[in-house]
């Protein structure tokens, strides 16, 4: 059932001057699922994200979105198809206000983004939607604060609100809880569960309890290859996975 797969890679590989970061990975992401990508450091998880969003060109292999070949598209084109990524380090626009951050995402479909002669007030038609999106992540009271002044957890929330403003079909989240305190981890996990309704999420995550809690399917990468795939129970019982994580077949 090919239309059941929203994102698929076939034998995708990436080499950097002879160093093999991803060595032929075939990934199948089902529509509507929360798919986790885990593995030790250097397993090629972030490289996979960069390949899927075309931030890096593949060395070989094919990437399919809704069954169509997107291997040669430009990154902005992939984003406009609805495959939108987040970043490991929080990606906000620090000199813009929280509201303006979300508005940047809403602004593009308006089709006026090249108009250097229009006043900025022409963007205020988007303010209500931007505020609603901020409300979804509990940032409505900080709408006029420059994003650079937000605490870390709030920046991640803002990043999520900005990503959601694009109404993405597929969300690629790169370590959404990295560097967070315990409180924030729970909040963000809950937020991901909420926004995943009606969407597909592919996430790289180190926090295994978050992965166990959220993900329907988990793919374990090690040294650029798929080590195991399945539900959390399946992969966590796999001796090869345990060895890759612990360094011994404990």
């Amino acid at each position: 059932m090919p239309d059941d797969l929203i994102l698929e890679t076939r034998d995708v590989a990436k080499e950097f001057l002879g160093f093999v970061a991803v060595a032929g990975v075939s990934l199948k992401v089902k529509r509507g699922s929360i798919h986790g990508l885990i593995g030790p450091n250097g397993a090629g998880k972030t490289t996979m994200f960069n390949l899927l969003t075309r931030f890096l060109p593949v060395t070989r292999g094919t990437i399919l979105h809704r069954g169509e070949d997107v291997t040669r598209l430009r990154p902005a084109q992939v984003a406009r198809r609805g495959v939108v990524r987040s970043f490991q380090i929080s990606a906000v626009f620090p000199s813009l206000t929280t509201l303006e951050n979300v508005r940047i995402a809403l602004q593009r479909p308006l089709g006026t983004s090249f108009r250097f002669w229009s006043p900025a007030s022409s963007l205020s038609v988007l303010d209500d939607r931007a505020r609603a999106l901020l409300g979804d992540v509990d940032l409505q009271d900080l709408a006029d604060v420059p994003a650079g002044e937000l605490p870390y957890g709030r920046k991640r929330a803002l990043e999520l609100a900005t990503t959601l403003a694009l109404e993405p079909e597929v969300l690629l989240l790169d370590e959404p809880t990295a560097g967070m305190g315990h409180e924030d981890v729970g909040r963000v996990a809950e937020l991901i569960r909420r926004v995943a309704r009606g969407r597909t999420v592919l996430m790289v995550e180190h926090n295994l309890s978050v992965v166990a809690d959220l993900c329907d399917t988990i793919t374990v990468l090690a040294r650029g290859s798929v080590l195991a795939e399945g539900t959390y129970a399946t992969v966590s019982a796999d001796p090869a996975v345990r060895e890759a994580y612990m360094g011994s077949a404990a």
Partner: protein, 317 residues
């Protein structure tokens, strides 16, 4: 949710700012030598155009003299050899700089950071070479005795006051274009690119196209400044295409405050004034300006205007 943002200026404050700017500009030639003022205004427009790239897009061009100078030569030649209307001469210079901006920009924006700067410098050096070699530029002598002509065949611009008000009007138009560009939907995208380019890309913006348009606008306005300056000063020489000029505009922008609307103009006033009144010191001018620059940047990291705005912001909140 009606709390006004402390970062924004009210419409009234902006209107007062513009009114003050216009009033000072109108009165200035009665106090200060008009030719000096025209030079200041042209350099202020040049620096403001440059700031659109450095301060609002995050691109450091090290070849902006190419646009200033090429427009100056074209405008000067059009006025002197063809005797066209001064406005037409200025438009011709601006058009050439805009096209040149498109050509250089299309290639330079493929790289970022230091490589971007080096590509723009490389092209500017080519333009310098052309200015030395091409027959119409007058080589080492430059273009001398450029006639200012009659504006629309009516107003004699040989009168320095008339010429000054034309320069001031052009400055205001250029400045308004920059102001609007910064505060437009396009300007918001530029700021997002400056803040975090990969993120802007991931939101579906083809950032190179936005950078290119910013580059072309900046080059065109730098050309407008150069073309106007050639007519106002009545000469055009290699100084305007030399890489010193590309460096000087970086200096003006940093000294005044990059990423502020007024900063580059303030920087231009400081630098042009120093160059003008310190000529008695000969070659030492460069040393003195260098010292002022070092002290200025060390003491006022945001530039004079940037620091003033920061103080005002703290005072208000």
């Amino acid at each position: 949710m009606t709390v006004p943002s402390p970062r924004r200026w009210s419409g009234q404050a902006i209107f007062m700012g513009w009114a003050t700017l216009v009033a000072v500009g109108l009165a200035a030639p009665f106090v200060v030598y008009p030719v000096f003022l025209m030079n200041v205004l042209c350099m202020a427009l040049f620096a403001s155009a440059f700031n659109l790239l450095l301060g609002y897009t995050g691109l450091l061009s090290f070849g902006h003299a190419a646009f200033l100078g090429s427009a100056g030569y074209v405008a000067g030649h059009a006025a002197k050899a063809w005797g066209v209307d001064p406005l037409l001469a200025i438009l011709a210079g601006t058009a050439v700089a805009t096209v040149l901006g498109f050509v250089i920009g299309s290639l330079a924006i493929r790289r970022s950071g230091i490589y971007f700067a080096m590509i723009t410098l490389g092209f500017a050096q080519m333009v310098y070479f052309l200015a030395v070699q091409l027959p119409f530029t007058g080589g080492e002598d430059g273009l001398q005795g450029i006639p200012r002509g009659r504006l629309l065949g009516l107003v004699r611009l040989e009168n320095s006051f008339a010429m000054y008000y034309l320069v001031f009007a052009i400055f205001l138009v250029g400045f308004a274009v920059i102001h609007r560009t910064i505060h437009s939907p396009f300007g918001h995208v530029l700021r997002s690119i400056k803040d975090n380019e990969p993120r802007a890309l991931s939101l579906g913006y083809d950032v190179d196209r936005y950078k290119l348009l910013a580059f072309v606008i900046s080059a065109g306005l730098a050309g407008l400044a150069g073309a106007t300056k050639a007519l106002a000063m009545q000469f055009e020489t290699l100084t305007d295409v030399h890489w010193h000029k590309s460096g000087e505009v970086v200096l003006m922008t940093l000294l005044g405050g990059m990423g502020t609307v007024l900063g580059p103009s303030v920087g231009a006033i400081i630098v042009v004034t120093m160059e003008n009144y310190l000529t008695g010191f000969g070659d030492w001018v460069t040393v003195i300006i260098g010292c002022v620059f070092v002290v200025g940047v060390l003491a006022f990291r945001r530039g004079f205007v940037g620091e003033a705005l920061n103080l005002a912001r703290r005072f208000r909140s």
